[in-house]
């Protein structure tokens, strides 16, 4: 039975065709090497939830990071940021002024040149949209463009702009005025699967709800060039089923899979045709307790649940696909504190429950919990938690939901309709722990990601102080993180960090040049890859 | 002078259900000879074994053990292979059954049935059409009837049609299983008359099975009375009807209300 139809001749012809188009369009010498046709990325979720680079704040990053670029990019190897659209930068006045020099000769996919004005317009639009990760620009008070290739940020408080500009979300530099698009119509134009980025690939096709959801084509005029071996096209397959993902990897229909399950990952390490890479992520799973309504408004109950969680059992059961949560901040980021690693303490949990009138012999407690449908690790945690809590006379009423529904319920206008416990992964937008605090625990109206519904002015004040400290006083910053984590996790017991994901990537072993960059979760920078000839 | 040709001869027929020790005798018929152009009637109440006997003559006794000999011409129905029997059925021995309408396939036009039956015995095309027309005329049915479905005709018409099938196939032996019991009294007479006439005209050996001596008395030359699987009395119709030897026959005769009225 012929499953895959390889048509080398046709593919080569097409590649040559693209190469010649590339040559004409950009005016640069045509790429000399034939591009390998397609890199297929198998992703378990819907890829696109938002096409607008200003507000995008979800799965689509795996595609958009190949379409859009920011001023800088974070390099996990050195822990520093590297040039991308900016070639160099400097800061003066104690981190209050930042000057970026833009790469010259770069064009947006729509043909417009990348100038300081254009970059300013993009950042201004992102800030104005107030969605997604716009908060990263919070320190910016004004932007100057002294010449077409110089961008100057004036900040209201000191902040690490070079790191911020490498953010996985909200930092894209894009054209806000593509030709032929009316000024007010940009968003709807983008939502129709258009893009105005500078990256190596440009959006070619989007089939929402289909297996092959997104197709990106090589942008011939990419400033990084196409010499050497590269992929001509990137396809994002939406493949929720792990078995399917596994077989498509085996047969070579798919070149990369972001996550299988621990058992299959182990299996993949024995396969010659497959390469594997396990990398500690900057992403952790957090259980948020409803501090504003329902039974968990009683802090003793929250602490009891925290102590009832079998953290070590969870790690064991997940067979190497996760590492321990050391407080809110994953290892690898400043502020991470191994001393904050939690262990199960059932006697304490029982004591706390007894004080509150619950627990064995006391009143029965019912807790509602929502988690992500189809996430095996979350499901496993829920089972273990239910098991441990049942022994404490607490019934967990767990409901797997798709994220939109889960979030909608979490933000229900009537607090009584919200859940008691919510599971959510979080990761940094740029290489700093700030994101965990400002997004998850700073009070916000209406509710956004502050899903503990904490409203503590003291906590808010401490969080607001972080950016300034980051830029001026790293030691004080770390002290502040330690203080905040003790407050949030121990005094307030607003949440329980459960584990840090280990990214277990599986890909065709013919590919060279792949290195997982945990600062950009699940992203494969396809232009960096070298397909096997 | 040769004796009249025997169309059907039965010798030592025994039909049993089950095997070995448990075997139960359903019907036994020591001897029966049906000559061409004569009518033999087998009479008995239900369960007497008369229908079983009839089916044995067709070789249609599924799952029953049959012994003895049933000669139709040179063929012994008891031992003949199934293939020979399927040829014999219809072309030499034809059945006219009890409930005329339900015996005709409800989803088939009469013409289709006639055509298929004839084709089964190798009669096709113009010959088949001719045969069908003649047979229908013989039983006094309008050929237009061939376009109808069984539920669109009367019981009498259905029975005439069943007889027409036998005629069209030129069967030597016609086995009529209670051919009139499901019909109105007026129609009964007509159908019996028809059978009687065809017997005479075509030299058919007619075996008539009935529970009703009144029916039988009209056309039978020879009568066999059966009860509980055994022959109680057997003899020429006049003898059996006029001077019954067995008590059971007398009971049957007494139960015929129409006699003498």
């Amino acid at each position: 039975m012929a499953r895959r139809l390889r048509l080398p001749a046709l593919a080569a012809a097409l590649a040559a065709c693209v190469a010649s188009v590339a040559g004409c369009a950009s005016g640069t010498p045509p790429a000399t090497t034939a591009l390998t046709p397609t890199f297929t990325y198998s992703y378990p979720l819907d890829v696109i939830t938002d096409w607008d680079p200003a507000t995008s704040y979800s799965n689509e990053l795996v595609a958009l990071q190949n379409v859009y670029e920011s001023l800088t990019r974070y390099d996990p190897g050195t822990g520093t940021v590297k040039p991308q659209l900016a070639t160099s930068w400097s800061s003066t006045a104690g981190g209050l002024t930042w000057t970026f020099h833009l790469r010259e000769g770069v064009r947006f996919h729509d043909g417009n040149p990348v100038t300081a004005q254009a970059a300013k317009a993009a950042i201004a639009r992102t800030i104005a949209a107030q969605g997604g990760a716009a908060y990263i620009w919070g320190a910016v008070s004004s932007i100057d463009t002294p010449d077409p290739h110089t961008l100057v940020f004036h900040l209201s408080y000191a902040a690490p702009m070079d790191v911020i500009a490498s953010s996985d979300y909200g930092a894209y530099v894009y054209d806000t005025a593509p030709p032929g698009v009316k000024p007010g119509a940009l968003k709807s134009w983008l939502e129709a699967a258009h893009d105005t980025g500078t990256g190596p690939y440009t959006v070619a096709d989007w089939n929402q709800g289909q297996e092959a959801e997104v197709t990106l084509d090589a942008f011939p005029g990419y400033w990084g060039g196409w010499s050497g071996r590269h992929y001509r096209q990137v396809v994002f397959d939406h493949t929720p089923d792990v078995t399917t993902a596994w077989q498509t990897l085996e047969t070579g229909d798919v070149d990369f899979r972001s996550q299988l399950n621990p058992e299959l990952f182990k299996e993949a390490t024995h396969f010659r045709a497959l390469g594997t890479q396990a990398t500690a992520s900057l992403q952790n799973l957090i259980a948020f307790f409803n501090t504003a309504a329902g039974p968990l408004t009683d802090v003793r109950l929250r602490q009891a649940v925290q102590n009832a969680v079998d953290y070590d059992g969870l790690l064991a059961a997940l067979h190497g696909s996760v590492g321990p949560a050391q407080g809110l901040i994953p290892s690898g980021l400043p502020g991470n504190d191994p001393a904050l690693t939690r262990h199960q303490n059932l006697p304490l949990a029982r004591k706390l429950l007894a004080e509150a009138g619950y627990g064995p012999g006391g009143r029965h407690l019912n807790l509602s919990l929502t988690y992500a449908q189809g996430d095996d690790a979350q499901q496993l945690f829920v089972t273990l938690l239910s098991s441990d809590l049942q022994a404490l006379n607490i019934t967990v009423d767990a409901r797997p939901m798709q994220w939109n529904a889960q979030w909608a319920q979490a933000k229900a206008t009537d607090p009584a309709h919200r859940q008691d416990i919510l599971l959510m992964y979080w990761y940094a937008d740029y290489a700093s722990a700030y994101s965990w605090f400002v997004n998850l625990f700073h009070s916000a109206q209406p509710v956004s990601f502050n899903l503990s519904y904490l409203d503590d002015p003291v906590v808010d004040k401490e969080i607001d102080a972080i950016p300034q400290l980051t830029a001026t006083d790293p030691a004080a910053e770390r002290a502040n993180y330690a203080l905040l984590q003790r407050q949030l996790l121990e005094q307030d017991a607003a949440a329980a960090p459960l584990f840090v994901n280990t990214y277990q990537r599986v890909y065709a072993s013919g590919i060279t040049g792949y290195r997982d960059n945990p600062a950009y979760p699940d992203v494969v920078f396809v232009h960096d890859l070298e397909p096997s000839p | 002078m040769t004796p009249p040709r025997s169309s059907l001869t039965v010798t030592d027929l025994k039909v049993r259900a089950g095997e070995g020790e448990d075997a139960r005798l359903l019907a036994s018929l020591p001897h029966l000879d049906v000559a061409a152009g004569t009518c033999v009637a087998i009479v008995g109440e239900s369960g007497s074994g008369k229908s079983t006997t009839l089916h044995a003559m067709l070789g249609l006794t599924d799952g029953l053990a049959v012994s003895g000999r049933i000669m139709v011409g040179d063929t012994d129905v008891v031992t003949a292979p199934e293939k020979a029997l399927t040829t014999l059925r219809g072309s030499r021995v034809a059945l006219v059954s009890q409930s005329p309408q339900s015996s005709l396939n409800p989803t088939m036009r009469l013409g289709t049935l006639m055509r298929r039956v004839l084709a089964r015995h190798g009669i096709r095309g113009a010959v088949a059409r001719q045969r069908a027309d003649d047979a229908l005329r013989d039983v006094m049915l309008d050929p237009e009837l061939l376009r109808r479905y069984p539920h669109q005709i009367s019981g009498g018409q259905a029975q005439r049609f069943a007889i027409a099938l036998a005629v069209a196939l030129r069967a030597d032996v016609v086995l009529a299983d209670e051919p009139t019991s499901a019909l109105d009294v007026t129609v009964q007479a007509a159908v019996l008359q028809l059978l009687d006439r065809l017997r005479a005209e075509h030299g058919i050996a007619l075996v008539l099975v009935s529970h009703d001596l009144a029916v039988v008395s009209r056309i039978a030359d020879h009568i066999v009375v059966m009860r509980h699987g055994h022959v109680v009395e057997s003899g020429p119709a006049a003898d059996v009807l006029g001077a019954p030897a067995a008590d059971y026959t007398r009971e049957l005769l007494a139960a015929v209300p129409t006699l003498g009225e």
Partner: protein, 310 residues
């Protein structure tokens, strides 16, 4: 007609052939049952296996090797152990003994099946009897309502309803029953319509017995025989439907042991740890198969007319 889909399509009702049961007739049925046990080997084997399953379910707390695993216990340090001496069926992703889980799963499935059939019969049969016996407008209204329900395949209506209800054992029972009762209503209606014209009902009516009394004392018992046969045939179908519902995540939730749920949770591990899916899956298959075989046997035993089609 026989054997319309025991799974999703309860068969169209059989035309009524039952005489009013006399004690002698009941004795006859019992005798027939006994005779069946000798003659119908498959049905007998089915019954014996079912009995074993029921016993395993009822006695699970005593028979299961790790009774705690049937409800809330977990063993995160002993996950995904293959079938072997300590765990005959292996362990699942949180270290629970699968043999225990499968035994407890039998409790869930059998409970759901029994509850669904009871509820459906309790709702459907009286409605059907009233419709069939009363006739006229009442019959039209009731039967048109059942028609509407019957226009949804049973699983579809259950799925739509289970989505609305909070998932759990109770809502699974309700969701399936809603799609199931109309079959019994229709069947009882046909039977009751037939009985209505019988002599003994006329006699009772002439004696001045009230309608309700006639329905309760004469019509209902007679409508029950075909319904009882149908119930035994449908049990397998309900088991499959509830397993499907659970597989879609709309049935009982963790930590309840439910076969469909176990299959759903284990499916991603099928390649590497087959036992997680195989044993609960085979449990569904075996139970449904036995119910179907037994139901077939009962039908032919209690309904001699169907003798031939066996």
């Amino acid at each position: 007609m026989t054997d319309v889909s025991p799974t999703l399509a309860p068969p169209a009702p059989a035309p009524d052939r039952s005489a009013p049961p006399t004690p002698a007739a009941r004795g006859g049925q019992a005798r027939r049952l006994l005779a069946l046990a000798r003659r119908d080997l498959p049905a007998t084997v089915g019954a014996v296996v079912l009995l074993a399953i029921v016993l395993a379910a009822v006695l699970a707390p005593w028979l299961a090797p790790y009774p705690g695993d049937g409800s809330h216990a977990t063993h995160p340090l002993d996950t995904l152990a293959g079938p072997g001496g300590r765990h005959w069926f292996g362990t699942d992703a949180v270290g629970r003994d699968l043999l225990t889980r499968v035994m407890y799963g039998a409790r869930t499935s059998l409970t759901v099946a029994a509850a669904v059939l009871t509820v459906s019969a309790l709702v459907g049969v009286p409605l059907g009897v009233i419709a069939g016996y009363t006739g006229g407008v009442v019959k039209d209204v009731i039967m048109r309502i059942t028609d509407v329900f019957l226009a949804f395949p049973a699983l579809l209506l259950s799925v739509a309803l289970a989505t609305v209800l909070h998932p759990g054992t109770g809502s699974a029972i309700i969701a399936i029953s809603v799609g199931w009762w109309p079959w019994y209503a229709r069947m009882a209606c046909v039977t009751a319509t037939g009985i209505r014209s019988r002599g003994f009902v006329d006699a009772a009516r002439c004696l001045g017995v009230s309608r309700i009394r006639i329905m309760a004392r004469h019509v209902l018992p007679n409508a029950l025989t075909p319904v009882l046969v149908q119930l035994s045939l449908d049990a397998g179908g309900v088991i499959l439907t509830s397993a499907a519902l659970s597989y879609l995540g709309l049935g009982p939730q963790e930590p309840t042991a439910e076969w469909g749920l176990m299959v759903q949770q284990g499916q991603d591990l099928f390649i590497t740890d087959w036992w997680v899916v195989a044993f609960p899956g085979l449990a569904i298959l075996l139970t449904a198969f036995c119910f179907n075989v037994l139901g077939e046997g009962l039908r032919s035993a209690l309904d001699p007319h169907r003798e031939l089609t066996r």
